[in-house]
């Protein structure tokens, strides 16, 4: 392959062109004759719902998948990628949503890992200088000698970007780059992206739901829906509403209507609850709160501040280190997971594929996860799969899960559809208490709206809901009361309607509220 196809390319010239890309997977056309073009020096956002074909297209451009039809041109030359190695050699870099770093190694070691210049003898000093130069140029602030596990999400991402740049990438494909970042990390990343674009690098962030970011940084935006290009336009001509409409195919209401529900009796009371993380430190420290019938309590905070531990203790998956959990007047601190399900507690875990579902199980078997113990579906130890299939068909159609049949495997569902299935499964138990851990993370506009509406509906049906989210807008618009959490401690509890965004933001960063109720 040509190594230097992209050498000396000038601003505005076409870097990559894809023509008529078609990729079929069993039962679905993921990419349907897609034409797509990236120019040097531009930030070209790709938008689309989960399952619209963004990832497939990018994987094809990166050589991870081979298209069934269509051609790819790089710098005007027809190419045929056999593997990502070919793409990398031609100057295409991709930063995946999930980090691919060796956590026990240092930043430098990770960056030079697999680099052709890193032969048998490592010249760490020279590499360090070169990498430091890159950092300087694009405004990345990372301690190059730190070990990966010591870094924050944003810093890890910077390492991945540096790795591709150091490898000589002229085109950078970023998969949902801001999804795991805090607001300040996002700002820094965007500044770096702009700096890189000024340097004639072509950048393709593809993003599902953060439309304001698309509008703020990109030059052009391509919208995909159901494997086809719906539009490709200059970002100046687009608005948040027009993009959302193109993505979803209908009007999207951004502000969800907060349902007015009479606040009833307390369902969940948590007293001075503490728990340790997997690493053994006290991740949740003395949390006390209550959730009432028909109320949504929003737990606001950056991931890793004890939310996961709190959710798991409430679901029975983690032992409490101290304190009590009272559900409808009953002490359930030591109750088993199964007992909690049977009592009417439902948990939507943040790890959809690892915990919330079983990829090799059919949809019916996945639905059975919350019903195999239920007398209506299992008598004398025999599971009634016929009845479960009926239930699955019902909830698949009610919750709009895009699946050709209830017996396909769950791993064939896209992220948004999987989350719909999990939500449907848990909500159809009609839980009295629902713990929703990052229920809309990584979902597109349409699916997010859907999930939030379903939470509202459950609230109307008198469920008590704990909503754990990193998205402050979501917390403020959906919940009734907000509890910011920082380093395992609740910083106070405020009524959501009166809460100021800035106040909550400050509390998420560790500032305690003055007069909030405990």
């Amino acid at each position: 392959m040509h190594k230097g196809l992209l050498e000396g390319i000038k601003r505005g010239e076409t870097v990559i062109e894809a023509r008529g890309i078609t990729k079929r997977f069993p039962g679905v056309v993921a990419n349907d004759h897609i034409d797509f073009e990236i120019r040097a020096g531009e930030i070209h956002a790709v938008l689309g719902e989960n399952g619209a074909g963004k990832t497939t297209l990018m994987n094809i451009l990166f050589g991870l998948l081979q298209p069934d039809e269509g051609e790819i041109y790089i710098g005007g030359q027809r190419v045929n990628f056999r593997s990502p190695l070919d793409a990398i050699d031609l100057g295409i870099g991709m930063v995946h949503q999930h980090r691919k770093l060796v956590s026990a190694h240092t930043v430098i070691e990770n960056i030079i890992l697999g680099h052709p210049k890193a032969g048998r003898i490592l010249n760490l000093k020279k590499a360090e200088e070169e990498i430091a130069e890159l950092c300087e140029k694009y405004g990345f602030k990372v301690d190059l000698r730190a070990k990966i596990w010591q870094l924050s999400e944003g810093e890890k991402q910077a390492v991945e970007i540096l790795k591709t740049l150091y490898r000589g990438a002229r085109v950078l494909i970023l998969d949902e780059p801001t999804s795991a970042l805090t607001p300040s990390e996002t700002r820094k990343l965007l500044a770096s992206i702009e700096a890189m674009a000024r340097d004639e690098l072509a950048i393709v962030p593809f993003i599902t739901h953060k439309l304001p970011i698309v509008l703020a940084i990109s030059d052009r935006v391509t919208v995909l829906r159901r494997g086809r290009v719906v539009s490709c336009q200059q970002t100046e001509c687009a608005t948040e509403k027009s993009l959302a409409r193109e993505m979803v195919g209908r009007e999207v209401i951004f502000r969800i209507e907060r349902a007015r529900v009479e606040r009833g009796n307390p369902i969940l009371q948590v007293e001075n609850l503490s728990a340790r993380s997997d690493k053994g430190f006290l991740a949740l420290r003395g949390a006390s709160f209550s959730i009432h019938e028909g109320e949504i309590l929003g737990l606001a905070g950056i991931s890793g501040n004890g939310q996961q531990e709190l959710a798991e203790v409430l679901a029975g998956l983690r032992k409490a280190e101290g304190g009590r959990v009272i559900f409808e007047g009953q002490d359930i601190t030591d109750a088993s997971v199964l007992q909690r399900w049977q009592m009417g507690i439902g948990y939507i875990p943040s790890e959809r594929t690892e915990v919330g579902s079983i990829g090799d199980f059919s949809l019916v078997e996945n639905v059975a996860m919350n019903f195999y113990f239920d007398e209506r579906f299992c008598r004398q130890g025999i599971v009634d799969y016929g009845k479960l299939q009926q239930l699955t068909e019902e909830i698949v159609s009610e919750y709009g899960v895009a699946a050709p049949s209830p017996v396909i495997k769950a791993k064939n569902l896209s992220g948004g559809n999987l989350q719909r299935l999990i939500l449907a499964r848990v909500l159809s138990r009609k839980p009295r208490l629902l713990i929703a851990n990052l229920p809309t993370q990584g979902l597109d506009v349409g699916a997010t709206e859907f999930v939030q509406n379903k939470l509202m509906q459950a609230k109307k049906e008198k469920a008590a809901i704990l909503l754990i989210s990193e998205d402050l807008d979501e917390i403020l618009s959906v919940s009734d009361r907000v509890a910011p959490i920082y380093e395992g401690e609740l910083m106070g509890i405020l009524p959501a309607e009166e809460a100021m965004r800035e106040t909550i933001g400050a509390m998420m960063a560790g500032l305690r509220s003055e007069g909030g109720e405990p």
Binding site: P26, Q77, L317, R340, S357, E365, Y372
Partner: protein, 378 residues
């Protein structure tokens, strides 16, 4: 690979139908037999006549067939004992030890009833035989429970535990039946005392009733995994322990139960071979040979992809070939262990052919222009 304008490509299978798996397995067996004929030819034996001899002895001959059936019962029980933990993604490498434990349990009952005395006393079969079967099952279960408990409670690797228990039980059997051991044969021939004829296992058309246990267990397991709540829990734990835990399935109960159940079946194999097979009726001196044969439960279980019904024909084939191979070795005066060699080749081929469970080959017409453009790139 290219032939003319066509290219042979591998394509990932989306799903595998039962009949496809069957055809692939049959092709694998044919291929293995063809491969093994090279060895026969090298040894100067006509492969077709060798195979005729093997199959005729194993499946037709009135001396060979009962041997095959008894091997089959033994192998099927061991295979089922392997399959149950396998469905929970746990590896039972301890069928050998559980098999020994079952044999010891059965003979302990005899000893308690004074069965060691000479001349052999008359024992009430309606009481003693069920007790022997139960004791064999329980002894296997206890051994399985050790591995299951350690796995469920402390997450100790089950492969290591079951494997090491095999050694302990091997020497325990030696201790029990050799010089001075409580089960020692009064003649001191390095084997256990003989079963009193009054408690020989009942035969059904010349076959020990244990065949019903083995077939019944396979059918029961099929039902367990297809329909029951416990089967669902085992499968869920097998696919994802974290997801199973989330769904309220105990991460202690499942490993514990699957090893207990596996132990029960392997323990029954111990009763079967040493107390039910006509002509054996004692813990034989070469008990280690059967212990080694128990490992074939792993192979049969893997080839059947954990399907307890598919294990039936596979166990029958392996049982038959091990008997026929041993026979033909003597009959044709061959200088190597035909039985184990044949099983080995078969095993490797069947495992290699599982590649086709996941991929299939398709002929695709190549597009000339693509090739040339591809070729242009330096």
């Amino acid at each position: 690979m290219r032939v003319g304008a066509y290219e042979l490509k591998l394509e990932k299978r989306v799903a595998l139908a039962g009949w496809e798996a069957t055809i692939i397995s049959i092709l694998a067996i044919v291929f293995a037999l063809a491969l093994f004929s090279i060895l026969f030819i090298l040894a100067g034996v006509h492969p077709l006549s060798a195979y005729r001899e093997i199959l005729a002895y194993a499946f037709v001959n009135s001396y060979g067939l009962p041997l095959t059936v008894n091997r089959f019962i033994f192998l099927l029980l061991c295979t089922s004992a392997f399959i149950i933990p396998l469905r929970a993604r746990l590896w039972n490498i301890g069928m050998t030890g559980q098999f020994y434990a079952g044999a010891l349990g059965a003979f302990a009952v005899l000893l308690a009833f004074g069965g060691k005395a000479l001349p052999p006393p008359h024992l009430p079969p309606a009481l003693v035989i069920p007790l022997m079967v139960t004791a064999a099952a329980l002894s296997g279960a206890v051994l399985g429970a050790i591995a299951g408990f350690l796995k469920g409670r402390f997450n100790v690797n089950e492969i290591v535990v079951t494997m090491l228990l095999n050694f302990i039980l091997y020497w325990l059997v030696a201790h029990m039946i050799k010089e001075g051991g409580p089960f020692m044969n009064p003649g001191g021939r390095g084997e256990s005392f003989e079963l009193p004829p009054s408690v020989y296992a009942p035969l059904i058309a010349g076959t020990p009733f244990t065949i019903l246990l083995a077939l019944g267990a396979a059918v029961f397991l099929h039902f367990l995994f297809a329909k029951s709540r416990l089967g669902y829990q085992i499968k869920a734990h097998g696919h994802s322990p974290a997801a199973a835990r989330y769904a309220g399935i105990s991460t202690f109960k499942i490993p514990f139960l699957v090893f207990v159940m596996g132990g029960v079946l392997a323990g029954l194999a111990g009763y079967h071979y040493f107390a039910a097979v006509p002509g054996v009726y004692k813990i034989a001196r070469n008990y280690g040979y059967f212990g080694d044969l128990a490992f074939y439960g792993i192979i049969c279980g893997l080839i059947s992809l954990g399907n307890p019904l598919a294990a039936i024909p596979i166990a029958l084939l392996f049982g038959g070939l091990s008997v026929g191979g041993r026979y033909v070795q003597g009959k044709l005066d061959m200088g190597f262990g035909v039985d184990y060699a044949l099983l080995g080749v078969l095993m490797i081929t069947l495992v290699a052919f599982q590649f086709f469970y996941r991929y299939r080959m398709v002929w695709m017409k190549t597009r000339r222009e693509t090739v040339s453009v591809d070729g242009n790139l330096p």
